[in-house]
Structure formats: C-alpha cells, structure tokens
C-alpha cells in the first residue's frame, strides 16, 4: 500500500514528456521554501494499492507518447521505497518509463536499492553542497543526498539534478559555481534544472497554521535566473529552467 497525497494526470515538469505524477504523502525535510507543505505530514493522504495505481496509469498510458511515463514525487517518495519498488518493478515490466523525484536524504537500504533498480530516471534535488547551509535550509544534513548521487552514478542511473533558486539563500555565485563543479565529472547526470523560487505555496502555510519563514523573500528576477543558468553552464552542459 502507498500513502498517496494526490495524483496529477498531466505532469509536464517532472521528467521527460507527459507524466502520471504520484505525489506521495510524508517528508522528513522541512525546506524553508517547500511549496507543498501539505505533503509533509507522515499521516493523512489516501491509501492505495499497487494494483489500483497501475490501473490508473494504464488508463493514461496512451498519452505518454515516446518519452512520457510515471513519476513518483511527494512528499518524499523514498520514504515508501518498499511499496514503491513493487510499483516501479510492475510498471517497468509493462514497458512504462519510471522516474523518481527525490531529495535523496535517506541512507540507502535494500528497499531503496530495489526501487532504484527499477528506476529509469532519478530527479535529484540537491539543495545545497555546504552541510551547514543544507541543515539551515532543510533541517537535515546533505550527507545522504550526496551519497545518493554517488550511488546512482555508480549504478549508471540517469540523473537530472534540480536546484531551487532562492534569492539570498541559494543564489550566490560561489554556491552555484561549487554546486555545478561538484557534478561536472558525473557521467550519468543528463541535465540540471533550475526551479526559480515562487510564493504560490505560501497560502498553504496559512491554511495549515505553520509560520512561513520566507515571508518577504521575492522570487528571482529574469536576470537573476539567467545569471544562475550561465554559472551552472560553466560546468554542466545541459541546463534548463523550470
């Protein structure tokens, strides 16, 4: 059984092509800029079986075209690695492309290994390279995240890296340079994506009664985003803006 927050049947930003996006409930990070705080709690959501999900996926398979498929996002999908591994194994057996949109912030255990063995694409959100900064942003160390990237590299799993660009937090030249330089020798990093910070999730905090810590932080300007892209391109050949 998987604890599902919601399903987006026409995902166009979570991997290649048209995607069935499964937002799983529960996350242990508390990213300051999280735009889905309603997916953080480890309770709530709807319990769904692998078969139920597969049935829903099959109904939209014809829309996937050559590139599309299923993406597990969240929340943090690897918190439910055991059941998700079964789902991905089933989907792959049916010829469906699988993508995992994760923060990679867990120690890799047998369940995660099994899950990754049936994952075509890992979309890894590396929030900061500096451990202290990472803790400040998310409440957790980045040690597991970087180990996760190493594991995928070793196993030859295609990776898309993601970086949320938050003015004053993750947009310094020094940080962006270090971030891209760190991954420049990764053979399996296919692209990096910049996600410009936005405030559209702010109203959810109000609704949930959680203080919004980035109150007053403005989204990056067009120029700031272009600048970040240029910096990342110094080390990484394919940089996209989401």
């Amino acid at each position: 059984m998987l604890r599902v927050h919601s399903i987006e049947t026409f995902g166009t930003h979570e991997g290649p092509g048209v995607r069935f996006v499964l937002f799983l409930q529960g996350c242990k990070l508390r990213c300051l800029y999280c735009h889905n705080p309603d997916t953080q709690a480890m309770t709530g959501g709807t319990m769904m079986t692998v078969d139920e999900i597969v049935e829903k996926v099959e109904k939209e398979r014809v829309y996937f075209g050559e590139k599309g498929g299923v993406t597990a996002s969240g929340g943090e999908p690897i918190l439910q690695a055991e059941a998700l591994g079964v789902l991905f194994e089933t989907l792959q057996a049916r010829g469906i492309h699988t993508a995992l949109d994760t923060n990679g912030a867990l120690v890799i255990d047998a369940h995660i290994e099994h899950l990754l063995a049936h994952t075509n694409l890992v979309i890894l959100d590396v929030k900061h390279l500096d451990d202290a900064k990472h803790r400040e942003l998310t409440g957790k160390s980045n040690r597991n995240v970087l180990a996760f990237a190493d594991y995928c590299e070793k196993k030859g799993i295609t990776m898309w890296l993601r970086h949320v660009l938050v003015p004053g937090y993750t947009d310094s030249d020094e940080h962006l340079n270090a971030w891209s330089a760190y991954f420049k020798n990764f053979k399996h990093v296919e692209r990096a994506e910049i996600l410009p910070y936005h405030t559209l999730g702010a109203y959810k905090y109000k609704k949930l009664g959680i203080p919004y810590k980035l109150e007053g932080v403005k989204p990056p300007t067009k120029e700031q985003v272009a600048h970040a892209k240029m910096l990342l391109q110094n080390h990484l050949p394919h940089v996209y803006i989401r």
Binding site: T12, H13, E14, V62, L200
Partner: protein
Amino acid sequence: MKSSSNKSQSTTKAHHSIDVRDFIHTHISSYDGDASFLVGPSPKTKALQAVVTKLMQEEKKKGGVLDVDTHTISQINSHKAGYIQKQDEVVVGLQTDAPLKRGVKPFGGVRIVEKACKEYGYTLDPAIVDMCTKYRKTHNDGVFDAYTKEMRMLRSLGILTGLPDNYARGRIIGDYRRVALYGIDALIAQKEQDKDNITGDMTDDTIRVREEVSEQIKALSMMKKMAQEYGFDISRPAQNAREAVQWTYFAYLAALKEHDGAAMSLGNVSSFFDVYIEKDMKEGKLTEEEAQELVDQFVLKLRLIRHLRMSEYNALFAGDPTWLTEAIGGAWCDGRHKVTKTAYRFLQTLYNLGPSPEPNLTVLWSKHLPMAFKKFAAKVSIDTSSIQYENDDVMREACGYDDYGISCCVSLLKTGKHMQFFGARCNIVKALLMVINGGRDEVEGVQVMANVPELKGEYLDYDAIYPKFKEALAYLAYHYVNTMNVIHYMHDKYYYERAQMALLDTHLERVMAFGIAGLSIVADSLSAIKYARVRPVRDERGIATAYEVEGDYPKYGNDDDRVDAIAKEVVSFFNAELHKHKIYRNAQATLSVLTITSNVVYGKHTGATPDGRPAFAPFAPGANPMHGRDTSGAIASLNSVAKLDYAQARDGISNTFSIVPRALGADGGEQVDNLVSLLSGYFAKRAHHLNVNVFNKELLEKAMQHPEEYPQLTIRVSGYAVHFANLSREQQQEVLNRTFFESM
C-alpha cells in the same frame, strides 16, 4: 464524366457524376515536410490588412456595427461590386457594396431584423417591413402559425432553446468547390437533368423537389451574374489557382448574401486549392509568395463576413460569431493523409494576419497525419489559441466517407451529399428538476409534465428519480422532434437556401441535428443523489430552490466510471428516444453535446441543482466537466469526456481545454511535444473534439481584471495546481510573470 483534369471541364455538357472528392483524391500532393517553406504576408496583403484593421476599429467604436444597408434586401445580385482597396485585392467580392456594411435578410423573421437595426441606431426601411408583414410571409410567421401550446411553453421556459424559428437555420455546407471545378454552366446542366428526372406521381414531395431545383437553377444563374459584376466569367471552370480560389469564394459569397445562418461553414477547401496551386507552381506560373498571398487574402475576406443580429443573439453566443469552419488535414479511407502545403498555408494565416476566431480553423486529427504537421498545428495552437481539433479517424469510420466538412463547431457533413436541419438544444437539467418538482418548472412553477408524482422523503432517492428522469427525457424528445419538424418545414417553405442547395446533390441524405445542454450537471447531480445524501430545500410552493449535499460523490471529469457511466447512458438514452419519432423529410436524428459559449445563458435560466450548483450559475460548456470538479489533472478530465460514445452523438461532442503555456512544459519544444502527446492520446481514446486554448499574457491580464469570467482558468506549476481566480492579486501578478518566463 469524371474530372481527371481541371482543364477538361470547359464544357456545358451535363456531368453524370459530380465528384469533387475524386478530383482531389486523384491529384492531391500530400506533403510530409515541415513549415520551413512558409512565407510572410505580401505587400498587397499588408496594405489591405491595414485598411481592414482600421475599419474594424471603427466598427468597434460604433458599438459593433459599422454600417447597415437598411433599404435593400440582401440577395445574390442585390448589391453592386464592392472592394476594400481594389488595386491590392487578389481575391475580390463583398457581401454588400462596402466592407463591413451589413445587409438585411428579413425572410427568417422581419421583427428580428427591425429590432437589430434599431439596437444599432438604424431604421429598417418601412417598405421592407410592409412587404414582410402584409404581402409576404416570413419563416418566423409560418412557425408560429403551426406551433402547439406545448411547443410554445417548452420554448418560453427555456427547456428548448436557441431554436432557429426566427432566424436563418444555417448549418448547411454548400460544396463551393463545384463552381471552380465545373463552372456554373455545367452545374446548371446537371440540375436541369436532375429536374427532368423528377417525374411520376405529383405528390407533395415530388412537387416540392421540382420547385426547389428550379430555385437552385435560378441561384446558379444569379451567381454567374454576380461574378460578372466583378469582371469574371464563372460559367466555365477555373483554369488556375487564382481562379479556383476566386470561383470558390464567389459561390460561398452567394450563400452569405442570401442567408445569415447561425453557422455557415466552408467545408474543406484547402486541399482542393492545393491541387491548383501545385499545378501552377510546377508550371512556373505561381511563386510561394503569390500562393500565400492568395490564401491570406481569401482568409482576410472571410474575416470580413458580417451578419446583422440582435444583441441578445450576440450575448447568447458571446460575440458576433459566424462559424466559417474550414476543416484541414485528415486522411483518406485508403490511409493516405490529406496534409498539403496549402494546409500549412491556411494555418500560416494566423501568423500573417494575426490570431482570429474566424475562419474557424479545424484540424482533422488522424493517426495518419505526418508528425511535422502535428507539431506545426500544436505550435500554432500554443501561439494563437485559434485552432480546434477533431478526430478524423473516428468520424471517417462513422460515416464511411473521407470528404467531409465540419459545420459550426463539431458537426460532420459529407461535402455535397449531406444536408442538415439545425436543431439547437434542449436543456436536460430542467428535465431532471421537473422530476424533483412534480413535473413543474423549477423557476416559473408552471406544470409542464403530467403524471409526475411529488417525491416523498427527506432525501432524494436515486431509484425513484432515475426512471422518472428517463420518462422526462422521452417526453422532451418527442416534443423536441415535433418542434423541429415544424421549424424546418417552414424554413424550407419560406426561407429556402437555394444558393447552397444548388451546390449539393439533388438527392441527398438529410440529418436533423439535436443537442443537449447541461450533461455534466445532470451526471454530477445523479451521482450526488446516488452516492451522497441530497436534501432538497423546498419553498412554499413545494419547489426545491436549493439542495444540501451531505458527503462526497464521484464527479464527472475524474475518469471515474461510477459517474462517467451515468453521463454516457444519458446521452445514449436521449439519442435512442430521438430515433423513435418520425422526422421531417426522413432525416436521420443526430445528437450533439455542445453549448459553445452559451453555457452562461443556460445557467441563468436554470434553478439550483442537486450537485450543489446554486441557482442561475453557469453550466460547463459542451461536454466539459464542471469547472473546479475535475481535480485529478487534465488527462483524467479528458478521459471522462472521451468515454462519451461518438456513435451516440453523431452531431459532435465538444470539449474545451484551457491551459497556460508553462503548464504544457518549460520551453517551446517541450510544449509542442507534450501538446502533440496530449492530442494523440485523447484521440486514441476515440474522443471526438478538443478546443485548445493556450492562454496568452493578454488573456491572463483580463482574467485578473474580471476573475469571475474565468472560473476555469487553472494555473499549473511544478507539482501544483490552483484556480487563477482564487489567487491574490499579487500572486496572480507572479503567475503572469512566471508564465511568460520562457522567453529567457
């Protein structure tokens, strides 16, 4: 004689078989390449466009109507030649003697014309009023002479709505290409021969057809004269591309001069034009610039088509629409696709002349279409929001024919072989409410249906209501068919479309196109009654004026069979009921799930509904799920609509899809690919139609100013979806900024 070459047609001999389809099928040059050959507008086109833009601005400034000729009843030969700016026009011809000047066509109903004139500050010539009240009967008078009390009641309560009983029914598509391929003289000869063959017992039917064919022959002669006024001899076939476009346009213009039908669509002319264009280009007589100029100027002419209508009509259809629908693309029954370079050239007009709802460019989507064309169409959609898509594979299979046009928005007509009686719509939500209110209308309280028992119990009971609802639908279907029979009998009698009918086969198939409005509300209401608990709140008359819904229920638009099956069954049931009755001139009943833009007006006449919709709130358009209830993403929503069976709704199932560019993908390439995937998937599910709106910045700004008018506008960013109207102003501004981020 089959037409193997357009040069061999210069004969006045009768054609044993008029067969435009065969001509195109034999000569078409299918094109698999991309859009790189296309060119921009020519200097002449630009000059004309400048004049037209200015005229349209003046028209707007004057409240929507630039000028009206109130003294002349518009007919094929009623007006002298008119031009926009003669030296720049490569295609000529206007409805009256000046651009945007509207003619009066009183034979549908003179009071409507009188009122329309008055609303725009004009007075209809009293001589015309006199003629149409004292000496000549109009269609409208005929209908009301024959209507029963019941028909009048259903009409005035808004249960049967938009009936073509006081205006031209439209919806007929003449095969305008015939004039170019054969020339008028050959068409007259064919009709003369047809007439000679209509003999035997002089029954009502036979006499009528003989009279009609005579009228058609007159119209053909009048077309010839109209062309002469512009200096062209269309008695002979067109000899080159320019003539082919010009001859076809003259034929269409003749129809538009005589009638102002709700929708007067063009058919499928682009592949026909392409045969001539290709030939001229091969012979070195035409350049790409000249070919595009022809298409641009033809389309520019179509954009100038105007009808004089009451503001009430314009409110119903949101604007001043003409539905000049041109079907582009599709495939032949043998599997070859019909995409030509001219298909591209037609779509290119949306760049060369700017986006426009008219002509209503409709891409016939088929699995056989070349990928390059699918991508180009998707790109044009994203850039202009001016294309709709229809499932050619499903339609071709259903009608067994591959040369058809789309009438209005979604209605298939085999070109030259089909004639349609337009049937407007029936509000089936009111049928459901009648059942809940003992057969009474939920707004006026008057008794409509007899023998509907008052419901017992605090909560609505599905098992009691559903069978009664079917009885109500059966009752409506019977009266709906009868009403249509009266209308079309009178329309044929008093306002016959001789110009269009002259360009159809004399012996043809007739369809009567019925329609339903409010399908999603009916499905959700029945689902609420079945799966949640619905308590009606009744007023002192015992009429339910509000409903309290306890608990949740499956909603149409989420790919949930529990409710989607209800929607599907309602459509099939109503369609079957329509087929039980005798229809005028043995027409086949067809059914549409289509409200176009009139969903707001339907809502205004309909009380509260058991799905929780408040009284007088808008309906969802066409077969769309109710806005805000399709919460599982676009594909789940599309899948629900795709379940409706085209075989049970042969007049079409309309769905409108609105999205911002960013929600289609991060950059232009991704957006095009994802839209192609979306369309391919939707049509592989055997869905019928999709209107694609990709909102531009201008529209989002309008939505900020009037959020109430855009309740459906959904903004999707990574992993996040919200209704635009629910965001704060500041957030809307941010969406606006983000949405148009991709220029980076």
